[in-house]
Amino acid sequence: MRQVNQVKLGEEFIKSRAHREMHDRCLWAARMRRDAVAASIPEWEEMRELASEIKLHTLSNLDFYLEQFTANAEANGIHVHWARNADEHNAIILEIFKSHGVKVVTKGKSMTMDECGMREFMAKHGIEINEADLGERIQQLDNQRPSHIVMPAIHKLRSDVADLFARKLGSDRDIDDPHYLNSVMRADMRKRYCQVDAGMSGVNFGIAETGGIVVCTNEGNADISANLPPLYVATMGLEKLIPRQSDLPLFIRLLSRSALGLDMTQYTSHYHHPRQGQEMHLIILDNGRSERLSSPDYWPVLKCIRCGACMNTCPVFRRTSGISYDAIYMGPIGIVLEPSYDLYKYARLPYSCTHCGSCGDVCPVKVPIPELVFYWRSVVVDHNDELFTHNAEETLAEPILESAGNLAKAEKVGLWALRHIPKSIAESGLNPWAEAHDDPEPPEETFRQYYNRVIKPESDKDTPKEQS
C-alpha cells in the first residue's frame, strides 16, 4: 500500500496562493475568536482540567459506563447495537435499512461513519446517502474527503464551490456568492428531505446516567434527519460517553467555543427516546478503540471530543489544509490518531509537526497531543526498517545530528557559507528555501560561540567537550 506523504500533498495546496491565504485566514480567525470567548469565561482553564478529569475517569471505568448507558438507552426504547469493526458496523446498518425498505437517507456529519466507509458501502447496495451538512455535501459531490472536522470544505474557494454546484446541481457558474450557493444547497436538500426514508447522524456525547445522546450542529441538518423520517440511526464511538447529566454543561460550554469561538452550536439536541411511530437505532463502535485504551502511553487520545481547535491553531495544518493528510482525521489529532489505524500508511504523519505545542494549549479536554506525537515517532523509529519514513535529507543530516561535536562544526561551516557564498548562488534555483526567504545577514559568531561567551554558567566552562 501507498504511504501518505503529507509534505508532498501539502506542497500542492501551498502552490495556490489564493487557497492558501484564504484557508489560513479563516482558521486563524476561528482561533482568535476562540481566544476571545475563552477569556470571557473566568473559569475556562478550570473547566478544561475538569473536562479532562471526567474523561479520564470515564475511560478508566468504561465497561461500567457502557453497560449503564446501554441498559438506560434500551429502557428508553432505543435499539442498541455493538460493532467490533467497520465491517460489522456497516452490516448492522444495512440489515436495518433492508428490513425497512430504505432507499434514500439524509445524514448529519459523522466522522465515525466516515471511518467505517459507510456511505460508499451503502452506495454499493443501492442505498443513496445524502450528506445534509453544507460542507460535507460539497465534499460528497466532489468525491473528496472532508478537510476539517467541523468545516469540511474550508480548503475550497467560493469559486470552487460555484463550479462544483454548476456541474452537479445546475446552478449558475458565474455566481459565487456564498449566500446564493447556500440557497442552491438548501433548495436541493429540501427536495430530498421530502422523500427521505431514514435519517442518520453521529453522536457528540452519550450520557450513561440517562441513556440518551447529544448531537450538536449549526445548520439543523441532523435535527431534520432525526425528526422527520420514521427511522433514525446514529453511530457513537464507544469513547463518547460521559457519566452524568450534570457533566454535560461543562462539555457543551467548551465544545463550540473551542471549535469556532461561538458560545453555542445553534442546535444542541438531546435524544432519549424514539418519536411515536419511529424506530431509533444506535450503533456503538469499537474499531480499535478498546485496543487504544489498553496502551499505557496512548490511551488519553480517547479523551478527544472532536472540536477541531487543534487544527485551527496548527501552523502546519493552516498552510497545507486537511486534504494533504489524506486521512479521515487530519491536523494534530489526525497525526496521532491515524497511525493507530494503519501504521505503515500513516507512518510519516507524526513528522508533520513543528513542536510549537499550541494544539495541546487549546485542547478543551487536554489531550496531550504534543507528547503523543513523540510517542508515535518512537513507535515509527522502532519499526524503521519496515516503514521507510526517512527521506534523503534526513539521511544526509544523520551524521551531523548524531554528534554534538559534528553539529558544532557544521554550524561554523554554515556561518562561513553565509558570509562567503554569493547571493547569486545561495539564492539561486538550487535552493528552494530562497523562493520565499532572503538569507539573513551573517552574525558575528555562531549561537554556540555566543552562548559559551555570554550565557553559559562559569561552573560548566570546565567541561569544554562540545565547545567549538
Binding site: L62, L134, N218, H272, P274, I284, S294
Partner: protein, 220 residues
C-alpha cells in the same frame, strides 16, 4: 451476526486493558453574571436571532398577530402555542414530510439561557419538531421568569430523560462552510424570533430588536 458476542468481546477487552481508576470530580454550578434576560437577548442577537420584550403574554400575542408572517391569507402557519391559532392543522401532518410547506411556526420556549441566548424546546412544546425545523420563520414565546443565567443551572432544571427530543435552539439555522462566510438560513428556519414576556420595563409599543450586522441574505 451475533450482537451479544460482539458486546461481550468488546467489554471483555476493555476490562482487560483499561487503565487504573481515575477519580470522578464534581462539576461546580458555575454561575453566569449579569441580568439573565438582558444577557439572553444580547447573546441571541449575536446569533442573528430577533427579540421583542413585552410586559405580559397578552401583549406578545397581540403583537404576533400584526406580523406579516402571520398573514393567514398568504402564509401557512402552524402553531403549537396556546392561545395562538394557525391555519395548518394536524390533519395535514399525518405525513410529517408536509412540514416543509409551513411558512411560519409558533411554539413555546420552555427555558432561556442568559449565557448563550439559547431557548430550550422539547417534543412537548414543539409538538412536532419537524415543523419548527422545516418552517421558514420560527416564533418562540418565552416567560422572562424562565430565563436562567448559566448553562449549568439550566441543565439542573431539566430532566433530559423525560423528553423524547429536547434541544437548545440558538438563533436561526446557520452555516459558515463556504470560506467561513456566516450565513443564516442553512437547512432550518431563516429566522428565529423570541417573544419574551413578563418583562416589567418592556418598551411601549413593543420594539423588535435585531442585530444590525445580522446576515440578511438576498437570496432567500
Amino acid at each position: 451476526m451475533n450482537q451479544q458476542e460482539a458486546k461481550t468481546e468488546i467489554l471483555a477487552r476493555i476490562r482487560a486493558g483499561k487503565p487504573a481508576l481515575h477519580p470522578l470530580p464534581d462539576v461546580p454550578m458555575y454561575p453566569y453574571p449579569g441580568n439573565p434576560t438582558e444577557e439572553f437577548i444580547r447573546h441571541l442577537l449575536n446569533f442573528d436571532g430577533r427579540a421583542v420584550r413585552f410586559k405580559n403574554r397578552q401583549d406578545a400575542i397581540a403583537w404576533l398577530k400584526t406580523q406579516p408572517e402571520m398573514d393567514m391569507a398568504k402564509m401557512k402557519v402552524y402553531s403549537a402555542a396556546t392561545d395562538v391559532e394557525g391555519n395548518f392543522g394536524e390533519d395535514q401532518l399525518t405525513d410529517l414530510h408536509n412540514a416543509h410547506l409551513i411558512d411560519t411556526c409558533v411554539a413555546e420556549g420552555e427555558l432561556g439561557v442568559g449565557e448563550m441566548g439559547s431557548i430550550w424546546v422539547t417534543d412537548r412544546s414543539l409538538r412536532h419538531a419537524a415543523c419548527a425545523l422545516l418552517s421558514r420563520r420560527l416564533f418562540l414565546f418565552l416567560d422572562s421568569n424562565d430565563i436562567v443565567g448559566g448553562l449549568h443551572e439550566t441543565y439542573a432544571r431539566i430532566k433530559l430523560r423525560d423528553n423524547q427530543y429536547g434541544s437548545f435552539y440558538t438563533g436561526p439555522s446557520a452555516t459558515a462552510d463556504i470560506e467561513a462566510v456566516h450565513i443564516t438560513g442553512a437547512q432550518g428556519p431563516l429566522s428565529l424570533t423570541a417573544m419574551v414576556y413578563n418583562v416589567p420595563d418592556a418598551p411601549e409599543p413593543p420594539q423588535l430588536q435585531v442585530n444590525p450586522n445580522a446576515d440578511h441574505s438576498v437570496w432567500q
